[in-house]
């Protein structure tokens, strides 16, 4: 476990609202190796985006608050940095792509200027040099450089997302955080953008945190996977470990919920119930009331972290006594 690019430890983030405290992230531990891609998977409200924004230190405050934990980027603790230092890191060492390309670009600034801005800030070059580099970046993401003078509304959704990618990569970041980068796109456009991202990831040699709810996207792009539920990482491992030897009941439930396109007789087995109220998380395991394997201990005690080898672990009571517990696969 050496050479970590990003290391998050015991991250806790709360949103303090009039109706109470939302425990969005409760003790997340993840790491990203240089040049590797971690898929952060979960459903709405799992805390994925909050985790990502915490790395950027862009949690809206108030109401958001990073309560405790540490986020180290190349050994530097981001949580202790001053705003002025953070501005030097953002866009240069770590970049972020947001979910909705339709709203992620400033409507009144040309796309060329929006790309050039980051270059001018971080590479201390003049306007014409930056504009030149911006055009190159556009070409890299597959847009003719002569469109640099156009405004975002003149581009389609897929093209906009390419521009957003160009902005994020303009200063060769070491870490890219991509928050559902293809969710808002059509399937054939998603395929184009994913292809582009895979190529660029190799070309730019960067680490990546890919946030998604789509295990299919993970299978295509990621090296490692972390499954998030109710603000915690419930299972983590390499792509093979998580996909081939599913350990956590929630992960299993996710897989069983996805319609299998290649086998139409495959039965859908949804996870029953709903995610717990984030204002009022249960005392024990958050997945307890939806879990088919739940035991009395799950209701009262937080599940322990159980390791299977160096990289694969789950947080689940099932494996505490019997390490070799087998999930039944959900297929009757």
């Amino acid at each position: 476990m050496s050479d970590k690019l990003l290391k998050i430890e015991d991250l806790v983030v709360h949103y303090i609202t009039d109706d109470g405290v939302v425990e969005a992230v409760n003790g997340v531990n993840i790491g990203v190796d240089r040049g590797k891609t971690l898929g952060l998977v979960g459903e709405t409200g799992a805390g994925k985006t909050t985790t990502a924004l915490s790395i950027m230190r862009l949690i809206p405050h108030p109401p958001g608050k990073i309560v405790s934990g540490s986020i180290e980027l190349e050994g530097t603790d981001l949580l202790s940095l001053k705003e002025s230092r953070l501005e030097k890191i953002r866009g240069d060492v770590v970049s972020m792509i947001f979910q909705d390309p339709m709203t992620a670009l400033n409507p009144v600034i040309t796309v060329g200027d929006q790309i050039a801005e980051a270059i001018m800030i971080h590479q201390k070059v003049g306007q014409s040099k930056a504009a030149q580099k911006a055009r190159e970046m556009l070409e890299i993401v597959g847009i003719p450089g002569n469109r640099a003078g156009e405004y975002p509304h003149q581009f389609s959704g897929g093209m906009k997302q390419r521009v957003v990618i160009a902005i994020a990569l303009s200063c060769n970041p070491k870490l890219l955080i991509a928050d559902e980068p293809t969710t808002a796109l059509d399937v054939t456009i998603q395929a184009q953008v994913l292809e582009l991202m895979k190529n660029l990831k190799d070309k730019f040699q960067m680490g990546m945190v890919l946030i998604t709810h789509d295990l299919g996207v993970v299978a295509e792009v990621c090296d490692d996977v972390a499954i998030m539920y109710a603000g915690r990482i419930v299972e983590q491992g390499t792509l093979e470990e998580v996909f081939n030897t599913v350990k956590h009941p929630y992960t299993e439930g996710l897989f069983n919920s996805i319609p299998n396109i290649d086998d139409r007789r495959d039965k859908l087995k949804p996870i029953r119930g709903l995610m717990s109220d984030p204002y009022n998380l249960p005392k024990g395991c958050s997945f307890y009331d939806r879990c088919d394997y739940a035991m009395p201990v799950c209701e009262t005690q937080k599940p322990p972290k159980i390791h299977f080898g160096e990289t694969h672990f789950v947080e689940c009571h099932l494996y505490q006594e019997q390490q070799d517990f087998k999930l039944n696969g959900g297929k009757e």
């Binding site: 709405t44 292809e195 299919g216 949804p270 709903l274």
Partner: protein, 317 residues
């Protein structure tokens, strides 16, 4: 012998835009048998939702006919249509905007019953509402809550209950699960399937997600820029797609598995919109195999195998 419940003939829907006529639905034909599901698949702007709405006359057709149990619904007057609406219903994509935020769950489910005077006795009506809530798996204690207090999955169940409240036989499901999380999506899909079995419903299932309809549909029709480009029994469409767009669409779906790797077909270009379209194959500018003929004339929809229709010039070669 199964009977055809709905037949669509040469249906067209054009919209006026500042830049010209938008051919949202352009001369499409299909039919559905009773108790079956037709999956209507395509990406944004292909006209699938417009088709669904024209079928229910929520939008008026520009040209063409829709027959429901032999009746041409485009010729019905308001009263006639109102009678038919008791049988033809719709479930919407967005569980957040399809429910009136100022009505409670029970009021929403009750409205169609009251409006169409199906049950006039309030006590009996109340019972019927509870029965419908049971049917779609909504806990009875939620009856006086407002939609905004509930999650997407439950809201979608309300929408389903409303659609079933009448004497429903036919439902247009317009992307009913695409706004939901995967685990909830599976719950709703299973519910819809079970209801179909129990009540003998016929569905048009509109979606952009082929993997969802695979589970669901007997037949699948693929649309691209207002045109129906391929239609086949589901089994056949998935194993033996013919149109290059269908092939690309199928391959583009990310598979959540590490074993069977499917070769991806990456299309060039973007989806445009069918404003004042030329007489050519609408897919020709993105198609990896396009020939001169594709750019010169529009391919007709032809039956290439029994039940399998394709609109592509290249298949003949």
């Amino acid at each position: 012998m199964s009977e055809v419940i709905l037949q669509v003939k040469n249906l067209k829907k054009y919209f006026d835009t500042p830049r010209g006529k938008l051919h949202a639905v352009d001369d499409i034909n299909f039919s559905i048998e009773k108790g079956k599901t037709l999956g209507l698949v395509g990406e944004s702007g292909c006209g699938k939702s417009t088709t669904g709405r024209v079928i229910l006359r929520l939008l008026e057709a520009t040209e063409g006919e829709v027959f429901y149990e032999g009746v041409n619904i485009n010729e019905l007057d308001y009263e006639g249509m109102r009678k038919l609406r008791k049988e033809m219903q719709i479930i919407f994509q967005d569980p957040f905007s399809s429910l009136d935020p100022r009505m409670t769950v029970s009021e929403i489910i009750e409205e169609p019953i009251k409006l169409n005077k199906i049950i006039t006795d309030p006590k009996e009506r109340f019972e019927r509402v509870l029965e419908l809530m049971d049917l779609v798996g909504l806990s009875r204690r939620l009856m006086n809550t407002y939609p905004h207090e509930l999650d997407g999955g439950r809201r979608q169940r309300i929408g389903i209950a409303r659609a079933l409240a009448l004497n429903t036989k036919f439902i247009v499901c317009d992307e009913p699960v695409s706004a939901l999380d995967v685990s909830i999506q599976a719950q709703i899909l299973n519910l819809l399937k079970e209801l179909q079995r129990k009540l003998g419903l016929t569905y048009i299932f509109i979606t952009h997600d082929l993997s969802v309809v695979n589970h669901f549909s007997d037949d699948i029709a693929v649309m691209y820029l207002g045109k129906l480009i391929e239609k086949a029994p589901a089994e056949r469409l998935f194993t033996n797609p013919i149109h290059p767009y269908t092939k690309a669409l199928l391959s583009a779906i990310p598979r959540p598995t590490l074993d069977k790797k499917v070769e991806k077909i990456i299309l060039k270009g973007e989806i445009t919109s069918p404003i004042n379209p030329e007489n050519n194959c609408r897919f020709s500018d993105r198609c990896n195999h396009a020939q001169d003929i594709c750019r010169a004339s529009e391919p007709p929809l032809e039956e290439v195998f029994p039940g399998h229709f394709v609109a592509c010039h290249l298949f003949k070669e």
